[in-house]
Symmetry: C2
Subunit: 202 residues, 2 copies
DNA sequence: GTCTATATAGCGATAGAC
DNA sequence: GTCTATCGCTATATAGAC
């Protein structure tokens, strides 16, 4: 899909919406506020998005791109175990932002699930992106229950993010990530002889 | 504080707000909708609550009462380990509702933290209620790191609730609770000789 | 493509009769 | 205490000049 409009405006609107939604929730920011933050005149928003919901949909895709970029970065690592630990450490590293606005992805997904049923599948896709990637790593470590482990990892991260933000405690986030780090280590790699083959089965 | 108004109306308003907020989020339900659901005439809401935010504050207190009632029920059990497992199983038992609207407490707290700064401390209290109680149980089992264990337990529950609701998968919630059950068992009780004394020392 | 001006509707909140 | 009527405001969305 090619956009023949003046470059930047659409992207600025999405970025401004992403920022404001992250800070104040999905419902609070008005189109006027988003337009102002993006340095776009209020009425012009509707040239790019027919409805507010359409802007939210674009915002989710924007976040999906960020998630994919993050995971691509992690894929540079050789060791699946190191990849998984670095994923978790992403939340520890941004513990202060997590405390201020919660986990960007988790909050966005859970709010959209409640308030915009039609965006729920798209929001679920954001989480699935992380889940699928983690499952792949655990599978490469030879764990037959890779999906369950991925769920536990991501659930642990998301739960810690909720508690940290509600209780305003960045150390809580960091401590839980440290615990998940140890958990990943203690899992070891099952059947290390054929771990590379395990990727192929099922 | 005694209310000399006709009994029921205030309570009905709070209950209706609780239900609608649980279903559609903190910001979406209008006072008109809440009043209608509570069978109260729209203008009459302001006799009981000066502002919308004041109604939300009452809603949080309503939830706090429910949390305390839940924990009191669990306290009837003799064994702290059984208490903790039954706490977790509360979410498994309501997995279908969790999938539909997320964890009532977790969603409420995390949304209020973002959208109503002045209610954030009150919302944090909701989570602390659960955390303090869990910490007490772990301490009675003789764990010196009881607070950290409580955080892990509640984080695991909240994270699973997010994933289950976003992915629309009740079994995910149930499986994670089962895992937490086993985790509680595997923790055992530290220094079981003096576990009852451990409650006393800090 | 961009902007101003505005239509339309619904919100939270108030006033005042009963 | 309860209700009706309504104020004042701001939201999303549209129309049309440029």
């Amino acid at each position: 899909m090619v956009w023949i409009t003046r470059p930047g405006k659409r992207e600025r609107l999405v970025a401004a919406a992403a920022e404001l939604v992250d800070r104040h929730g999905v419902e609070s920011p008005t189109l006027a506020q988003i337009a102002q933050a993006a340095n776009v005149s209020p009425g012009n928003v509707y040239y790019y998005f027919k409805t507010r919901e359409e802007l939210l949909a674009a915002l989710v895709e924007h976040r999906r791109g960020e998630v994919r970029a993050l995971l691509s970065g992690l894929d540079r690592r050789r060791d699946p175990r190191a990849r998984l630990k670095e994923l978790a450490e992403t939340w520890a590293a941004s513990a202060d932002e997590v405390v201020e606005h919660g986990c960007t992805i988790g909050c966005l997904a859970s709010q959209l699930t409640k308030t915009h049923a039609c965006l729920a599948p798209s929001a679920a896709g954001l989480i699935e992106e992380l889940l699928d990637w983690s499952e792949t790593q655990f599978r490469q470590l030879g764990h037959p229950d890779a999906r369950a482990l991925a769920t536990t990892l991501l659930g642990g991260i998301q739960g810690a993010a909720i508690l940290a933000s509600v209780l305003q405690d960045p150390d809580l986030m960091r401590r839980e990530v440290r615990r998940l780090d140890r958990w990943i280590d203690d899992l070891g790699s099952v059947d290390s002889r054929s771990s590379s083959l395990r990727v192929l089965d099922h």
